[in-house]
């Protein structure tokens, strides 16, 4: 008996082996359930949108490369890290302000002499300087 498939040249045994995952009872049951779920979407042409979205996602995967991942992750880490640090500082300061006695004016000045506070103030001034430099409109039209 000829067991070769006329189109592909594959033997019946090879074809059966290739299809074996589909012949599995659990797979068949799962596919049937899935089809029942998807059928209304296909009938209403709404499944087309899902396929379009998948296609878009697939294009995105194709376009992603090492350089793009590095740039995106740098932006991610910088933004998340900054938000986290600011949130931490605000929470810590809020707790300190709530638990410590309100300082006198002289006490505030003494606090301003603390090295960490001076470093923070220096950061704020440098931050403002960068903003000021970026806002400089002294350019001839």
């Amino acid at each position: 008996m000829n067991t070769s498939s006329s189109d592909t040249g594959a033997t019946l045994t090879e074809t059966a082996a290739a299809l074996s995952p589909l012949l599995d009872e659990a797979t068949e049951r799962g596919l049937k359930e899935l089809l029942e779920k998807v059928a209304p979407l296909i009938q209403g042409r709404r499944f087309h949108n899902v396929v379009d979205l998948l296609s878009l996602a697939s294009d995105g995967v194709d376009m992603f490369d090492d350089a793009m991942v590095q740039k995106l992750m740098k932006a991610y880490e910088e933004s998340v890290g900054t938000a986290w640090a600011l949130g931490n500082a605000a929470r810590y300061a809020q707790n300190q302000a709530a638990t410590l006695p309100v300082p006198t004016l002289f006490g505030l000045l003494r606090t301003a002499g603390n090295e960490d506070v001076r470093r923070g103030l220096h950061f704020v001034l440098q931050f403002l300087a960068v903003l000021g430099r970026q806002m400089n409109n002294d350019v001839e039209e």
Partner: protein, 396 residues
């Protein structure tokens, strides 16, 4: 009276656990009832898995480290000081600066150290990628390597059922090596031989430390022309002759010996006298559920320092960290531990230079290997370049 929680070790385990303890116990921390201290021997935090990429010229130093302080919540008292001795019975540690620091709870996350000197000749002739300097040396050797034989060995601890560092790393680097040499255009002049020892935790004569993965490995290696041998337990290396000898009596020549070296706990843990591990390896006897140090309920152990049968990797720390934070909080608030570790470890394995394979396992269930994909590779790259630092901060 203020309770003092001392976290020792500034790797991924210690960093994320210190952050998580502060988050979990924030009401107590805010009113000064709990104080958290982190001790590390370095002001820098290194992303250790990146050393593997350093060996293939894919990561620079500035990209794989951050200032430790920038990864910690401000409530944590961070000190750069190395612990030189643990006194678990007396609940105190001594440090290199001469201080004695007492605690109510301690978390030991001091990692492990490669110990190639434990196999004669391996330190002189072997290359590995588990630390930065050796990884840079390996990168230099690979850069010049154009033909010859690269022999790969994996060395398990002698303590029964304890794995080597990062279970999947030898497979990852073997596949990366194959692709690296192909990109260089010299792969057809290089013979790659991957070997695995006779005893790998509970398995015998396998190619990986879990059966299901072991079964798919031959097909993967054969598709890439990588040769493989079971039952090669490295006994010694002759650096002059460039020959590796196994306990099974085989001799194998090499031009480059890429190894996963023996490992041990850090000196202070070794000398604590608490470990019962074989071969003076120093793994601390750890309760597999609560992660408490056996006999010392106020001490917790995590990461590479445990004597548990799970991977010595960051993916283990990620799942141990919330258990320890919950159990310390439970003990403080209710007088008992409240959480149980199920042995879960997850990771995205780097399968070659581009593809990745997400995986997970626990005490009861092994890894079920899936085909490596580009999406998996992108996820791993995203983790390497950004997500890791969120994990260290305890955000993810």
């Amino acid at each position: 009276m203020t309770k003092h929680i001392l976290v020792v070790g500034g790797g991924i385990g210690g960093t994320m656990t210190a952050n998580s303890i502060v988050a979990k116990l924030y009401p107590e921390v805010a009113r000064g009832a709990v104080k958290v201290t982190l001790l590390s021997d370095s002001p820098w935090h290194y992303y250790k898995p990146a050393f593997m990429y350093v060996a293939f010229d894919m990561f620079f130093e500035g990209e794989l480290r951050r200032k430790q302080q920038s990864l910690l919540r401000p409530e944590i008292d961070f000190r750069v000081d190395k612990v030189t001795s643990f006194d678990f019975a007396g609940s105190k540690v001594k440090t290199q600066s001469g201080k004695t620091i007492g605690y109510d709870y301690i978390v030991v996350s001091t990692g492990c150290l490669p110990a190639p000197e434990r196999i004669p000749g391996l330190k002189e002739a072997g290359d590995y990628f588990y630390q930065q300097k050796p990884a840079l040396q390996m990168a230099e050797r690979l850069r010049k390597f154009e033909k010859g034989r690269i022999f790969i060995t994996v060395n398990f601890p002698k303590t029964p059922n304890v794995p080597h560092q990062c279970g999947i790393a030898p497979v990852e680097t073997t596949l990366m090596l194959d692709e690296y040499l192909r990109r260089k255009g010299v792969r057809d002049q290089v013979e790659i031989v991957y070997t695995y020892p006779t005893v790998s935790q509970l398995l015998r004569n396998c190619l990986f430390l879990q059966q299901e993965v072991c079964e798919v490995m031959p097909a993967i290696f054969e598709s890439k022309g990588i040769k493989y041998q079971r039952g090669f337990t490295l006994a010694s290396v002759d650096p002059e002759r460039k020959v590796a000898t196994s306990e099974e009596g085989k001799e194998e020549g090499f031009d480059l010996l890429m190894c996963t070296p023996p490992i041990r706990a850090v000196d202070a843990v070794l000398e604590s006298g608490v470990s019962q591990a074989a071969n003076n390896e120093g793994w601390l006897p750890t309760n597999r559920q609560t992660l408490q140090l056996e006999g010392f309920p106020n001490a917790y152990v995590m990461g590479d320092t445990v004597d548990l049968p799970i991977s010595k990797a960051g993916g283990s720390c990620h799942n141990q960290c919330p258990i320890i934070a919950n159990n310390i909080a439970g003990d403080l608030r209710l007088g008992r531990t409240v959480d149980v570790y199920d042995g879960k470890v997850q990771a995205v394995a780097q399968m070659g230079l581009e593809a990745g394979m997400p995986l997970w396992y626990d005490y009861d269930e092994d890894v079920h290997p899936t085909p490596p994909t580009k999406v998996g590779g992108l996820l791993r790259k995203a983790f390497n370049r950004g997500i890791y630092w969120s994990v260290a901060r305890g955000i993810i």
